[in-house]
């Protein structure tokens, strides 16, 4: 009996010790979107990365934040003063000076859950993308608009129409694609492309489609919103 008592006390001590030892988990959410004119940009999944830096902790290392297909991001953090940066060469856009300074670093004073929209200027946008299905051929009509037209303007390398089984649709994740090289894009409005749906195994009666634009000299593509299409 005594042994049992001791055992209970000992077990109690262990429990207490456990809860005292552990750190609290991060609990504050920093959410946001990459936007142009209030509209989020459509990007490739997990390809555009941002970095959060929190100075003052001795050795510095960034917290990576990746941006979703719909241009949103979210990160679970501790309260603190962070610097949010988009590293050079990331994203199909140019960053803007933030908070009245000449730098594009965004200072985030995180005390509570926070939502921020980061305004950037994309080189191009894919607009008015409409998708249609005709006997297993997905066709799309869309416009391109060139947003940056000054000295920083870039050419179109190619336009691609992608379809996939799942809602992750991009160059690396697709079941079929057609490409239109930039040299063949003469008119930026009313561009038409189509792609055949291949046999899908196991069978399903829908695909996800979107149009992507590759800008020459820029690594990441910009896309139209994703659309689910019933094709049979």
């Amino acid at each position: 009996m005594k042994i049992l008592k001791y055992f209970v006390v000992l077990a109690g001590l262990l429990l207490v010790a456990c809860s005292k030892d552990n750190y609290v988990a991060p609990s504050i959410t920093l959410k946001g979107r990459i936007v142009y004119g209030g509209e989020p940009l459509n990007l490739e999944y997990s390809q555009v990365g941002m970095q959060l830096w929190e100075p003052g902790w001795g050795k510095l290392a960034p917290i990576d934040v990746t941006v979703s297909q719909e241009g949103t991001f979210s990160s679970l953090l501790f309260a603190g003063k962070y610097k949010l940066i988009i590293p050079k060469g990331q994203g199909p856009f140019m960053t803007k000076a933030q908070q009245g300074s000449s730098s594009d670093t965004l200072y985030v004073d995180l005390k509570d859950n926070q939502n921020i929209d980061i305004e950037v200027t994309p080189y191009y946008l894919v607009r008015n993308a409409k998708f249609a299905n005709e006997a297993g051929v997905i066709s799309s009509t869309f416009d391109l608009s060139k947003v940056i037209t000054d000295a920083n303007a870039k050419n179109i390398e190619r336009v691609s129409l992608y379809i996939n089984k799942t809602q992750f649709v991009a160059g690396s994740t697709n079941i079929a694609a057609t490409n239109l090289s930039g040299a063949n894009v003469t008119n930026l409005t009313g561009i038409k492309m189509s792609v055949n749906v291949p046999t899908i195994n196991p069978d399903q009666n829908y695909v996800y489609a979107r149009v992507g634009l590759k800008i020459s000299g820029v690594e990441d593509m910009i896309f139209s919103p994703i659309q689910k299409i019933q094709y049979k």
Binding site: G58, K59, L60, A61, P62, P87, K88, G89, Q90, G171, S172, N174, A177, G217, E219
Partner: protein, 629 residues
């Protein structure tokens, strides 16, 4: 009583004390050598140097079978590796290196060797030159992977003042590191022996080969860096100005020509065997008077230094262990080999109207190809260690249906028969079955034909070739082409191609960038060049562009250096089972994409130079980050 005991003990302690003297306590250590002992004889110093040789860094080597066969030149037939064909690329930190501990040891060796008084002058000069060669080699390795790095040429000493910031050094320019390598090469090349029999220690030949490769890398970064303006840093830590290209190309050609003309000994192409494919494979395992090999990492049986490359890559059927077959060269790579008339063509599986082509022998489809194909790859129908490999995917019946099995050498009853018989090869290919030839091919390069090499307890002593004469010829050919000397370039290319059985000589007009890149791809395959060649020509992001490959695209543009190579394809042989028809027992081939291959590799701009760790940058804020990461 107690008191007495204590006083006796105390007294005995006192006696012990008085016994000690300096000679008893001051013992020489028996488990380490003192500095004085190390530098007292050349043999001792050489063993220190031996350790430094052992720490030479290679990315792809026979000790690392995945690093040597990456970039979809092969599929990895091991269950734990399939993920590499389902992801979409490489981490920014991939291929990183930052071993300044090694550099410190090299610098210490150089410093102490310089100060040594009891070494004879000849040994001392040679040791110093060897250590400088190793140091230049490691800086070459660093600059290839990381771009410009801090050039530390003296052992740094901390003064314990509490402030180590004076030990922080910024990154040198990429061109400065290459210049350092070339300058060191010029200084040490005549202090080392010109001996073709010395392969595992530094020789004049090794220095010239390294210098020609380094100058060529610097030159191509200068010339082709303009194609990727984002892969540069404003301080020059990454990127070399294009104005320096011609100078580096001239140097690369000069060093290569010094070696080719015999200034470092009588190096030549290996040409001992009449069978050209066997001859090509022998370069890598014939260790007796091999005139082609310049500098190697050597191995020796029963010495503790052996490697298991043959164990993990031997053909699975009849292997000496229950494993093997890991590297499966891809169809993409196999099709890159030219036909003997210098033309590029896919392996003919179907005729123009789409019907399959029937072959009498399984090896007929590979007829009239560059001899290096069969020298690099174990093809269906060929032999290893005297045993034919058993690579075939199943029977195809007259109605087009397939009978195959899911185990090596599985048996089934064919229609019209009563007894079960083998319906798939003992070497596969079976989709998703590890250690079988899932692409239809095994790797031949470096496989050791001696008995026991496939046993875990014996392993192999085949050396890993770091520099060889064939590569120096290709360096010369590339430099000559870039300098506009196309005829000279063709001459170097032809000497190499003649050995591969390509009898029709190229003329100067045939030489272009794609030709040069292609020749390096097939000659130097699986030798650790793929990554660095793609990087320095700035075409890695075009070859590995993240888009999947369609079967029709696979057969197009075979001669283009920038041909997409994001997924490995397979070529599966099937036997026809249609008794009493003309095609009975003949072979057809099918192009297959394995179900395990779902991702398409993408080489990001941030992959061109590996990430420098945050810990390194925290310790030394003078280090700038690599671009696009």
């Amino acid at each position: 009583m107690k008191k007495t005991i204590y006083s006796i003990l105390l007294a005995s302690l006192g006696i012990c004390w008085s016994c000690n003297d300096d000679a008893f306590l001051d013992r020489k250590p028996t488990n380490i050598l003192t500095e004085q002992q190390v530098w007292s004889s050349p043999d001792q110093a050489l063993s220190v140097l031996g350790d430094l040789y052992n720490r030479y860094a290679d990315l792809g080597t026979v000790k690392n079978w995945t690093a040597i066969s990456d970039f979809n030149e092969a599929f990895w037939s091991e269950a734990g590796q399939y993920g590499n064909f389902q992801n979409t690329g490489w981490d920014y930190g991939a291929w990183g290196a930052w071993d300044y501990g090694y550099i410190r040891d090299l610098n210490l060796f150089i410093q102490k060797c310089n100060n040594a008084t009891s070494l004879d002058a000849a040994s001392k000069d040679r040791f110093l030159a060897e250590a400088r060669f190793l140091r230049a080699s490691y800086y070459f390795e660093l600059v290839k992977r990381m771009g410009g790095v801090p050039l530390i040429l003296e052992p740094l000493t901390y003064d314990f003042s509490g402030d180590p910031t004076y030990l922080r050094n910024p990154r040198a320019k990429e061109s400065e590191v290459y210049d350092f390598i070339l300058k060191e090469s010029d200084d040490i090349k005549d202090k080392l022996p010109s001996s073709t029999s010395e392969k595992s220690r530094a020789t004049k030949g090794a220095v010239l080969a390294m210098a020609s490769r380094a100058a060529l890398y610097a030159a191509s970064i200068a010339r082709y860096g303009v194609n990727t303006p984002v892969v540069t840093l404003p301080g020059g830590e990454v990127g070399i100005p294009s104005t320096l290209a011609t100078g580096y190309y001239n140097k690369a050609l000069g060093y290569a020509q010094d070696l080719i003309s015999g200034k470092a000994g009588a190096y030549a192409l290996y040409n001992k065997k009449p069978d050209l494919s066997e001859n090509f494979a022998s370069i890598f395992y014939d260790k007796a008077n091999n005139p082609e090999v310049i500098f190697v990492e050597d191995f020796k049986l029963q010495s503790g230094k052996t490697h298991n490359f043959t164990v993990v890559n031997q053909p699975r059927y009849g292997a000496e262990e229950e494993e093997g077959g890991r590297i499966n060269p891809s169809l993409n790579f196999v099709q890159a080999f030219e036909k003997l008339d210098n033309s590029f063509a896919p392996l003919p599986t179907t005729s123009s109207n789409g019907t399959p082509i029937y072959y009498s022998n399984v090896s007929d489809i590979f007829a009239d190809r560059d001899a290096r194909l069969a020298g690099t790859v174990i093809l269906p129908g060929s032999k290893f260690k005297g045993r034919s490999v058993d690579i075939w995917a199943g029977f195809q019946l007259a109605d087009g249906s397939i009978i195959s099995g899911t185990d090596r050498g599985a048996q089934k009853v064919l229609p019209g028969k009563t007894l079960a018989e083998q319906v798939v090869g003992f070497d596969g290919p079976i989709d998703g079955f590890e250690f079988t030839a899932q692409t239809g091919f095994y790797l031949r390069k470096y496989l050791d034909p001696s008995v026991g090499s496939g046993q875990r307890g014996v392993q192999s002593e085949v050396w890993f070739v770091r520099y060889r004469f064939g590569e120096v010829l290709l360096n010369a050919a590339e430099a000559a082409f870039e300098l506009g000397q196309k005829d000279l370039s063709a001459q170097y290319m032809n000497s190499l191609r003649a050995r591969a059985g390509l009898t029709k000589a190229l003329t100067g007009n045939d030489i272009n960038f794609d030709r040069i890149a292609h020749e390096r791809r097939v000659e130097l395959a699986f030798e650790g060049h793929t990554l660095y060649d793609m990087k320095r020509w700035r075409i890695a992001h075009l070859i590995q562009d993240g888009n999947s490959i369609s079967p029709t695209e696979l057969n197009t543009e075979l001669d283009k250096a920038t041909k997409r190579n994001t997924q490995p394809y397979s070529l599966w042989p099937y036997r026809i089972y249609a008794p009493n028809t003309a095609n009975h027992d003949k072979w057809i081939f099918k192009v297959v994409k394995l179900t395990r291959v779902t991702g398409a590799d993408r080489f990001l701009m941030g992959n061109y130079y590996s990430r420098i760790g945050d810990d390194i940058i925290s310790n030394n804020p003078k280090i700038v980050r690599n671009p696009n990461q």
